[in-house]
Amino acid sequence: MPVESVFPRLEPFLPTVQKPIQYVGGELNSLVKDWDEAEVRWALMYPDAYEVGLPNQGVQILYEILNERDGVLAERTYSVWPDLETIMRREGIPQFTVDGHRPVGAFDIFGISFSTELGYTNMLTALDLAGIPMLATDRTDEHPIVLAGGHAAFNPEPIADFLDAAVLGDGEEIALAITEVVREWKREGSPGGRDELLMRLAKSGGVYVPKFFDVSYLPDGRIQRVAPNRSGVPWRVDKHTVMDLDAWPYPKKPLVPLAETVHERFSVEIFRGCTRGCRFCQAGMITRPVRERSITTIGNMVETGLKESGFTEVGLLSLSSADHSEIGEIAKGLADQYEGTQTSLSLPSTRVDAFNITLANEFSRGGRRSGLTFAPEGGSERMRKVINKMVTEDDLIRTVTTAYENGWRQVKLYFMCGLPTEEDEDVMAIAGMARRVIQAGREATGRRDIRCTVSIGGFVPKPHTPFQWAAQCDAETVDRRLFALKDTLRKDKEYGRAIGLRYHDGKPSIIEGLLSRGDRRVGAVIRKVWEDGGRFDGWSEHFSYERWMSAAAEVFADGPVDLDWFTVREREEVEVLPWDHLDAGLDREWLWQDWQDAIDLDSEEVEDCRWTPCYDCGVCPTMGTEIQIGPTGKKLLPLSVISG
């Protein structure tokens, strides 16, 4: 069947929608391969608006890696805004890729990368517009394999009914492995239809096929058992870990959008994983162990990336970039090399120590020293001990004093509200900390124009973390504590005006909690919300708490479970969790012990296994991995001579 571009049908309507440029493709470094020459075709989606989705590293990397292979084609698709959705429905235009404007339903694999659960309703829009049946069990050999990846795929159970498959962990190697399985199967003439293909993928234990597992429940609503329903399907599905980041120096040719997007820069991931052991942090737990990219590869990637893109900013990404074993040399080397070229360097780091400032100084040579960010996460000493973020208030004050002395005028502090065992006074302690920060800044500089911004996020307990058993704090309590904090700062004549407070109300966190720790019964709620018009739930102007509440009430009306059961209920050690059969490598007993240590005031701090002996979290032996860090002693050089 010939696959034609839908662009001629779309084009007449583009002048009538918001920011039409986001739908036309044609970005620098994008490409459209020949359809008929490809044996395996991927449509890759980031389920949010183009401006958020385009810069996504995961999608860009897979796009490049897949397209580099002979006989493999990958194109990208993003969520369309409701104005275009209405037109597409009216005109019968299917969900399309921005590269070739080909209908998503015509591809072999429809891969969706979820960094957050709030993209679930957008996935349903895309499936529906693509003409792909929403339930995996309704799909035929005509339809693509719908495959989820990204952090949210570590518990894909709430969307299990809509997925054919999910993969956990790093995508580079497994995407290619899946491609080869599909290629084989198609070359053989697609024997056994999609079920055989899914079986071939599932057999390895590296791809999760939800419909090959049955979930049974106890009368009280808890899960009784999750078990494979056919022979040959392993009981557990493993995550994937790329061990040599230097062998995967992507993106080499970053996509440069014409439309304005949220990150206008070239990003290099300088390492993956984090072993600091912050208990709230799912990203840190599921990406273990730490694997560094070498200083030489980083230098080369920055050079090629800038040359290929023309970007003026480089971001050195990771979960805690200041922790790279050679970050000092990297910072100085890049700052030297790009001095005077109007290239700015940024390093997202929230470490609360003086080293962070040394790096920031290096990166802002000759430029404006606007803002520095630190993340104590918890307001009180006790709270920080519970989450294993061992920073004292005195440390923080010493650090910000140094920052102000170095010419920085604004400090941003990140905290969370609703953490396990949190009391009102723990949140109120944030005010005290912010006051001391301003005071220290005024003393250090003798100036009054010192500012501090406090940003507070709602805590959501996540799967595969020690807090996976914890009760989520209800929205009313979170809102009450945040309001009290705001009130105190407002009334503070001496410091209040110097402190900015940013937070969201507690309601979206509850829905995120439902989607994070939900099981397959939550799928009906997602579908109901979508049918009621739910779209773009990550955007406050589109998110409706009421819509989620009423959908949950309706779906759970007769059952033993409800929204509270999934969110504010504490779980016991023996309870089968919906994601227990999905293996991030973390030893369940270690996680449980870490949860017990969290609530035990006399417990010891968990240190970072990069610098202290292994404490047996379980990941390395289970996954056959090991920590990979420098220093390598290598140089950022060789530098190419920049010819004039």
Binding site: K19, I21, G26
Partner: protein, 278 residues
């Protein structure tokens, strides 16, 4: 805090004609200026920067076709810290831009009137799918017969009312182009003087609709074919870069045909526009 060394002065100013074609007609002016800045970096063109904490590359734009409008004749001026061969800049910059943003012509600025002052009028091509030539012809006749045609447009400053007729110095049906088109349509060519408030092609369309029963079923496809000084006698537009082109031997500086056929087919084929040969 260090302010850094003073930026290098401008050694050469280049005037650039570029096109936005095909899908890239949906780029906004901001999109284009970001793309050009990046292309200048990729191409290694030694652009000059302004002084200060957040230096800006010295690239200025003379007018800009609206989002959704294609163009064969957009202009910008770029300041370099070092002399460069204009033909090479044309090739390098074109290669560094995404296809659809195409550099057509680069000449060194030689003073005289500013680029903005030379861009006195535009020639537009408007394609109306699903409109019969007869209906379009009647509308054009009625439009040209009128002295004043007041139209309204919602601007950022609210609803404005102004005359759309007097700025239009010519408006004809392009029968040759219509015969070559792949679907039934009416194609208009018109010359519109730049005035304040600006009369845009859609204002003229509003006027055409007001004086007749013209009702295009889908949004028009608008292309700017040329911009430049308007010859009062002939009603033709001259090339605004001609005054800068003195050093180039005559015969090689004339713009070739603007590639009407490629414009009509959505700009997907190679355009017939060439720059001065080296």
């Amino acid at each position: 805090m260090p302010e850094g060394p003073a930026p290098a002065p401008v050694a050469q100013r280049l005037r650039v004609r570029y096109a936005k074609r095909g899908r890239l007609r949906f780029t906004s002016h901001r999109d284009i200026s970001r793309a050009v800045e990046r292309a200048v970096r990729r191409a290694g063109i030694p652009v000059a920067f302004s002084a200060g904490f957040s230096p800006h590359p010295k690239i200025s734009y003379a007018g800009a076709a609206a989002t959704g409008v294609a163009s064969e004749a957009e202009y910008l001026e770029i300041g370099l810290t070092d002399d460069r061969d204009p033909a090479r800049v044309r090739a390098d910059l074109d290669a560094a831009l995404p296809g659809g943003l195409d550099i057509l012509d680069v000449v060194p600025a030689t003073g005289g009137a500013s680029l903005a002052d030379r861009l006195q009028a535009s020639e537009w091509l408007i394609r109306l799918d699903g409109v019969t030539p007869d209906a379009a012809e009647k509308a054009v006749e009625a439009f040209l017969a009128a002295e004043v045609i007041e139209v309204e447009r919602l601007t950022k400053k609210g609803l404005r009312r102004f005359d759309a007729r007097s700025a239009v110095s010519a408006c004809v049906l392009d029968r040759r182009a219509m015969a070559a088109a792949d679907v039934p349509c009416a194609i208009l060519r018109m010359v519109v003087r730049h005035s304040t408030p600006a009369v845009r092609p859609d204002d003229v369309l509003t006027g055409l609709r007001q004086v007749s029963d013209l009702a295009p079923p889908s949004p028009p496809l608008v292309t700017r074919l040329a911009q430049g000084p308007l010859d009062a006698e002939t009603g033709e537009l001259a090339d605004p870069l001609d005054p800068d082109r003195q050093a180039v031997p005559p015969g090689e500086d004339a713009l070739a045909d603007t590639g009407l056929a490629s414009v009509l087919s959505g700009g997907t084929t190679e355009p017939g526009v060439v720059s001065a040969q080296p």
